[in-house]
């Protein structure tokens, strides 16, 4: 019985296999048996020629070398390009130097402020002879003030005519070889790589600072309208496209039942904003949409997108063909959440980096031209198109993204594992021996720099450490602390004051934390800003509170790039302010980093005992009678110069994982942090 059953199952398996064999094999045999011939209706494709191997090459050997060059050609028909019409030899020395023509006659307040803003920038020069770019401002549309031909015109060579608002002015003179920077130039008149396309700014655009983007959250709110459409009279109308197929098409107007529309005068509240490409005026809507975080959908734009030379608009806007409305709409509806998320965030970044104020627009224009002059050492595309943007990532510092604190993720790189301690020795002038030893004890320390900034002579002997120790003789100015010394060789800087007192494990832990947040400041002692209703201004406190917005730079880790930014990008006025009121320097550095990162600093634990007694809490170099009072108006002055309040508050402190946990101290890596 048993064997019969076995045999039966065996036969079953056998016959099943045979069946399979016949089924599978049959087809192949059948196919082999039939002569191969094209099946009717099947794709024919490009034929495989039997003699394809014998075909001749399109260019015969020896032909190419024959085509001898002709001498350089002159520019065709008055049209200009960068190589032909701009003389870069004048820009050799220190990059782009800009001379601005003084306005003839009385000028408006705006004009005056724009002039002041350019004069305060690092590009400006007062001598037209030394300038490599001569800037002709044509600003005020409504006053009807039209500029006449300037003196050093020279057929417009190396000139930039900057028109912020579309000028009603008749062209009083030939532009010649001058570049034109104007709002939304038409595609036909725009000379790529030579002219600069500006955004279409509204009349009341803020000069400095500017309103932040409107986006409150990363992903679109549920229930938000998919589309907003621009109205003739300057408003926006939202349309629910779930039902309507072609909301901007006149044919659909007959079917109002399927669509809810809503008039809005303010910024559009929708995921996508449809903007007509025909009228250049629509370009002003483009900026509105950008600010609102509403992804602009441009229908066959006839005008050049602002700063298209450097900004990758495909990351923030959608350019679509107006002739394919159904496809565009379907594409918008089907767009993946990931793409929508990315586009929305990019609108906010671009708005904030390049468009939110007149000053930013002008600086971006100059930066674009500087990049052309720099050629290979211009900003890489990544620096233009990801936060914090090219105005805050100076190409003079480096053009390798991994040298900056911002791009480690995109580059797949990591911040360096070492830091340099920079100890500022102020007036009393005592060599900070104990501090040097504590810092030198850290396994991550690469070098110690002492910035000797007082009247006493340099001491001849320094403590014996294995660490390389460099003494820099400073200029007795507080802003020296943040000078980009070439002797600083690591990315991370531990900024210290002679009076600071830190333990080695505090330094170690703080540095490890900094490696996770290389773009932020990581500090031990904090202070905060607050809005003072009584005085109608910003207030400052160094008292211990539940939140903080600044860390004191008398003991803080940060990236060395901030030294470059502090020295080269801050307006001179602010650095002078810091030199005159030394306590402001902390506030200023915190403002700078917060404006760049748009994030609060990070606090790490600091031994309690010293926290109460130490002069470190004073918030500035040197002991002062009233330690917790920086110059009263410091915060307000700096906020005014920035045009907004960039500081943000944090409510957390980063502690070691087992900090004060009820577990044996032996298991803890940073046990000395817990000493009472």
């Amino acid at each position: 019985m048993q064997s019969w059953r076995r045999r039966k199952s065996l036969w079953l398996a056998l016959s099943a296999s045979w069946l399979l064999l016949v089924l599978l094999g049959g087809f192949s045999l059948l196919r082999l048996a039939l002569p191969p011939r094209p099946r009717p209706g099947a794709s024919q494709g490009w034929p495989r020629w039997l003699d394809a191997e014998l075909l001749q090459s399109f260019s015969q050997a020896g032909e190419l070398p024959e085509d001898a060059a002709s001498p350089p050609q002159a520019p065709h028909g008055g049209s200009c390009n960068w190589g032909a019409c701009f003389d870069t030899s004048k820009c050799r020395g220190d990059g782009l130097k800009v001379f601005v023509y003084p306005a003839s006659g009385p000028i408006s307040e705006t004009h005056h402020r724009i002039l002041a803003s350019i004069e305060g920038s690092r590009f400006h020069t007062f001598s037209p002879a030394g300038a490599c770019l001569l800037l002709l401002l044509s600003l005020d549309a409504q006053t009807g003030e039209c500029s006449s031909m300037p003196l050093q015109w020279n057929r417009g060579r190396n000139h930039l005519v900057l028109r912020l608002h579309p000028a009603p002015c008749p062209k009083t003179f030939q532009l010649g070889q001058a570049m034109v920077a104007e709002a939304s130039p038409t595609v036909d008149s725009f000379r790529p790589g030579f002219d600069v396309a500006l955004p279409f700014l509204p009349e009341a655009h803020p000069l400095r600072g500017g309103a932040p983007g409107q986006l409150q959250q990363h992903s679109p709110q549920p229930g938000i309208a998919l589309l907003a459409l621009e109205e003739e009279r300057g408003g926006w109308r939202t349309a629910d496209t779930g039902s309507s197929a072609c909301p901007w098409d006149a044919h659909c107007e007959q079917d109002p039942g399927s669509r809810q529309t809503q008039r809005r005068e303010t910024l559009p509240n929708a995921t996508f904003c449809l903007i007509s490409g025909h009228r250049p005026e629509a370009a002003s809507r483009f900026l509105q949409a950008l600010q609102a975080g509403c992804i602009p959908v441009l229908l066959s734009p006839r005008w050049e997108l602002p700063f298209s030379e450097v900004i990758d608009w495909t990351k923030a806007a959608i350019v679509a063909d107006e002739r394919l409305p159904l496809q565009v709409l379907a594409a918008l509806q089907e767009m993946s959440p990931a793409r929508v998320l990315a586009l929305r965030q990019q609108t906010q970044f671009l708005w904030d980096a390049y468009f939110s104020s007149v000053e930013k627009v002008i600086h971006t224009t100059l930066e674009v031209i500087q990049d052309r002059i720099f050629g290979t050492s211009a900003h890489p595309s990544l620096l233009w198109n990801s936060p914090p943007g090219a105005l805050l990532a100076l190409s003079t510092f480096s053009i390798s993204p991994q040298d900056f604190p911002f791009y480690h993720l995109q580059q797949g790189s990591r911040p360096e594992g070492r830091f340099s301690a920079l100890i500022w020795v102020g007036p009393p002038g005592q060599p900070p021996l104990k501090l040097i030893q504590a810092v030198a004890g850290s396994q991550h320390c690469a070098q110690i720099l002492v910035l000797w900034s007082n009247e006493r002579p340099l001491p001849s002997s320094w403590p014996e450490t294995a660490m390389p120790l460099t003494v820099i003789d400073g200029h007795r100015k507080v802003s020296d602390r943040f000078f980009p010394y070439s002797t600083i060789r690591t990315d991370a800087i531990l900024s210290l004051d002679a009076h600071s007192s830190l333990s080695t494990s505090e330094v170690d832990f703080a540095f490890v934390v900094w490696q996770s947040f290389p773009e932020r400041m990581v500090g031990f002692l904090t202070s905060s800003h607050f809005w003072d209703e009584a005085h109608g201004g910003w207030g400052y406190t160094a008292e211990r509170t539940n939140e903080f917005s600044m860390v004191l730079t008398t003991a803080a880790f940060y990236h060395r790039y901030y030294h470059t930014l502090f020295t080269h990008s801050l307006p001179k006025v602010l650095r002078t302010l810091a030199d005159e009121a030394p306590t402001c320097v902390d506030v200023l550095m915190n403002f700078l980093v917060a404006a760049v990162t748009k994030l609060p600093p990070i606090k790490v634990p600091y031994s309690k005992q010293r926290q109460e007694a130490a002069p470190l809490a004073s918030g500035g170099p040197g002991p002062r009678p009233k330690p917790q009072a920086p110059a009263p108006d410091c915060v307000n002055q700096i906020a005014a110069a920035f045009g907004h309040m960039p500081l943000l508050s944090s409510r957390l402190r980063l502690d070691p994982v087992l900090f004060k946990d009820p577990v044996s101290v032996q298991r803890k890596k940073y046990r000395s942090l817990e000493k009472p």
């Binding site: 075909l55 001749q56 399109f58 085509d67 050629g375 904090t526």
Partner: protein, 741 residues
């Protein structure tokens, strides 16, 4: 097994015994079935059967070969493609008076000259391209209009025909490619070629027609675009200048170098090379050659200016040799000896040498004013080349010297990558051209800058955080708590009551994962101040916890188990505040670590009191709701199903996913707690704990292999309130009730 009640036994004891059983049972069954195929019987029969079996088996294998390797017998393409000779193509006589198209319209743009309606019905955002059949055109006297077809143009059309773009249905096509070969203007008769174009069946003023031309112009003035009148046709040209190039309409393509196929230059790593600058072009304008030779005199060895060889013996291919004085060099191999290679314009702007230079990983120094570099619409040439104005030629050396070494190496790598991706074959050129046109027509589906420009190594290493904008969401938005539950109603109600005390809670969502039992009646649920929704699921799956429910209206989500009753309101509120500062991270309470086990050579899960964390358990964690979407729809490989089948490790999977996509570490908040549960005491804690740890370690190893990397990041910090454990009056602290055990 899925219908079996699923109990969560505390955060630490998440053993799913059932899952283990199934795996074990299954493997045992296989073991029983295996030997049963050949039963014990008489030896004679046995041999007979074994032989029979082998025959059948062999037959099966052979059939399989037929099925799955059809190429070994027949080329799949030959199946339906005719084999003919180029000489057999039909001859068409062109009347002398047939119409000629207008000259090219310089104002053409996509929205004026391109008929996009023809592309309206192309599915998957892909244009369809039709190729006209090959014909031989002759004039009234029987003299051919052009060479029938060149090897490269045949390759180009073959590449298009083999691509996804191709259609043989002229009515569905959006782009038309004439088969008349205009790659080299010198091989054709201009007027007659134009007449040929005009008589194409869908010519219509050249709308949506694409011509490929690499060598435009002819003596003496060498126009920079094809001279054949072509009206609105798009031109993919290899030598455009700013004067002839219609930005956004034409496509600038490389001049293909036949050496690309002939010479195999293995990639040479970046770094310093023997010569700093080399010029290897022959037939240079004397003025340029003088400038270059002056450089050589000035800088000696580091500059090498080569020329044609005059004294070569017969039979040596002169195009593959270059000479400097009496020294003979192999071309293009000599290019690999230089850091920078000069690409000067000749009579034409586009030079085939650009391709050779890129192939050699040499950084091209392009000296050709107004030249539109190949594919400049999408390729960022700043990263791979140096463009020097002609009048600055004498300064070339100092310009190049000012480039830092690190950047040079980057450019060398980029140059080689450009060649590999876009220059190395006619096919690469053709497909890149079509892709550019495709991206213009379907811009919302276009390829990004990074995809065009980043070499594969960079693409692999880089992370693009989906939440890259630094943004602190407003506190007012609050968070949605999601409680996954099976049937532990009592514990669930306690969790609901506790969580509802958190000020920033805006909604509570209960995911009822028990299909056999209805949730309690409405009246029985605790009365809380925020909306409470119960979602019933179709299947008892762990992934239900991470589904992007429409009910989630806030960005912040708190995932919490139905037995986590020990977290205080202060702790939860503080956790939410921390999440606001780190909205792109997982912010959770119990932290865990992964470790490399050197003995076993694999990853190990660690839940001890360690100084480091790399994961937080999602039994109590805040995160952005976008990660729910990613978990549900974008989880790599089979991880999602694997987790559902094993009823374990959904939290580890979430940690992997978030770390992989953001490149960032988790944030553990507040001190460690003892997450105990009432049910735990009944079970033998120790042994269960061990199987649990083994399973969790297996999960880490499984996920790491699916992700192809270990994305988790280890950190040594956790987040506490600013004044935590500080000597400060408790009542003045914002979050006093933190850290109680």
């Amino acid at each position: 097994m899925a219908s079996k009640p699923y109990h969560r036994v505390g955060l630490e004891l998440e053993c799913e015994k059932e899952a283990v059983c199934v795996i074990m049972c299954a493997s045992v069954k296989y073991n029983i079935r295996g030997p049963a195929l050949i039963p014990r019987m008489k030896t004679k029969h046995r041999i007979y059967y074994i032989t029979l079996f082998s025959i059948v088996l062999l037959g099966l294998i052979a059939t399989g070969m037929f099925q799955f390797w059809p190429h070994s017998i027949e080329s799949s393409n030959d199946w339906n493609v005719e084999k003919r000779s180029v000489r057999d193509v039909p001859v068409v006589r062109l009347p002398a008076n047939s119409p000629i198209p207008e000259r090219g319209d310089l104002s053409c743009r996509m929205h004026t000259c391109f008929d996009v309606y023809r592309c309206g019905f192309n599915p998957k955002n892909k244009i369809k391209v039709y190729i006209y059949a090959l014909k031989k055109y002759v004039d009234d006297f029987g003299v051919p209009v052009s060479n029938t077809i060149s090897r490269e143009y045949n390759e180009l059309l073959t590449a298009i025909s083999d691509s996804d773009y191709y259609t043989d249905d002229i009515n569905r096509a959006c782009l038309f490619v004439p088969s008349i070969d205009v790659l080299n203007q010198n091989t054709l008769r201009i007027k007659e070629t134009a007449q040929v174009l005009a008589q194409l069946s869908r010519w219509d003023r050249g709308t949506n027609h694409l011509l490929f031309n690499m060598l435009p112009g002819g003596p003496p003035d060498y126009n920079t675009a094809l001279d054949v009148p072509r009206d609105r046709a798009l031109l993919a040209g290899g030598g455009f200048s700013t004067w002839t190039y219609r930005q956004g309409y034409d496509v600038s393509i490389p001049v293909y170098s036949p050496l690309s196929a002939e010479v195999d230059l293995p990639e040479k790593g970046p770094g310093p090379r023997r010569h700093f600058l080399i010029s290897s072009q022959v037939g240079l304008h004397p003025e340029y050659r003088e400038d270059l030779e002056a450089l050589q005199v000035k800088h000696g060895e580091s500059v090498l200016v080569l020329d044609k060889c005059t004294n070569l013996s017969e039979g040596v291919l002169s195009i593959r040799k270059r000479c400097h004085k009496h020294q003979v060099f192999d071309y293009p191999q000599v290019l690999q000896e230089a850091t920078f290679c000069v690409v000067l314009r000749g009579a034409r702007l586009g030079q085939a040498i650009l391709s050779d230079v890129l192939q050699a990983g040499c950084v091209p120094v392009v000296i050709a004013d107004s030249y539109i570099l190949p594919f400049s619409e999408v390729l960022d040439w700043k990263r791979a080349s140096v463009v020097v104005p002609e009048e600055k030629m004498s300064d070339v050396y100092s310009i190049l010297q000012s480039i830092p070494q690190r950047q040079i190496e980057e450019m060398q790598r980029q140059a080689r990558w450009f060649w590999e991706a876009y220059f190395q074959s006619i096919k690469a050129i053709a497909l890149a051209t079509l892709q550019i046109i495709n991206d213009r027509i379907y811009p919302y589906a276009a390829i990004s800058y990074e995809e065009w420009n980043d070499p594969p190594a960079v693409k692999w290493g880089s992370v693009s955080n989906p939440l890259f904008l630094p943004l602190i969401p407003p506190q007012s938005q609050g968070f949605t708590a999601i409680v996954l539950t099976y049937d532990r109603v009592e514990s669930l109600f306690r969790v609901i009551t506790e969580v509802s005390k958190v000020p920033s809670l805006s909604k509570l969502l209960v995911v009822w994962n028990n299909q056999n039992k209805n949730p309690p009646e409405d009246s029985l649920w605790p009365k809380i101040r925020v909306p409470l929704k119960v979602v019933r699921t179709a299947e008892n799956k762990l992934s239900n916890r991470f589904f992007p429910y429409d009910e989630i209206e806030t960005e912040a989500v708190l995932a919490i188990d139905d037995d986590i009753i020990m977290l205080t309101s202060d702790e939860l509120q503080f956790g939410y505040e921390v999440w606001r500062e780190f909205p792109d991270r997982l912010v959770g309470y119990p932290g865990r670590l992964h470790l490399w086990d050197h003995e076993m050579n694999k990853w190990k899960y660690e839940s001890e009191w360690t100084n480091e964390v790399s994961m937080v358990l999602t039994g109590a964690a805040f995160y952005h709701k976008y990660f729910n979407y990613l978990y549900t729809y974008k989880m790599p490989g089979d991880i999602k199903n694997w987790v559902d089948a094993h009823m374990n490790c959904e939290d580890i999977a979430m940690n992997f996913l978030v770390a992989n996509v953001t490149g960032k570490a988790v944030i553990k908040v507040t001190p460690r707690k003892k997450f105990k549960c009432p049910e735990c005491t009944a079970i033998d804690g120790l042994s269960l704990d061990q199987t649990h740890m083994v399973e969790r370690s297996e999960c880490i190893n499984k996920f790491a292999s699916v992700f192809g990397t270990m994305p988790l990041k280890v950190v040594e910090h956790r987040a506490d309130p600013v004044l935590y454990k500080d000597d400060f009056p408790e009542k003045l602290k914002s979050f006093p009730n933190i850290g109680s055990l």
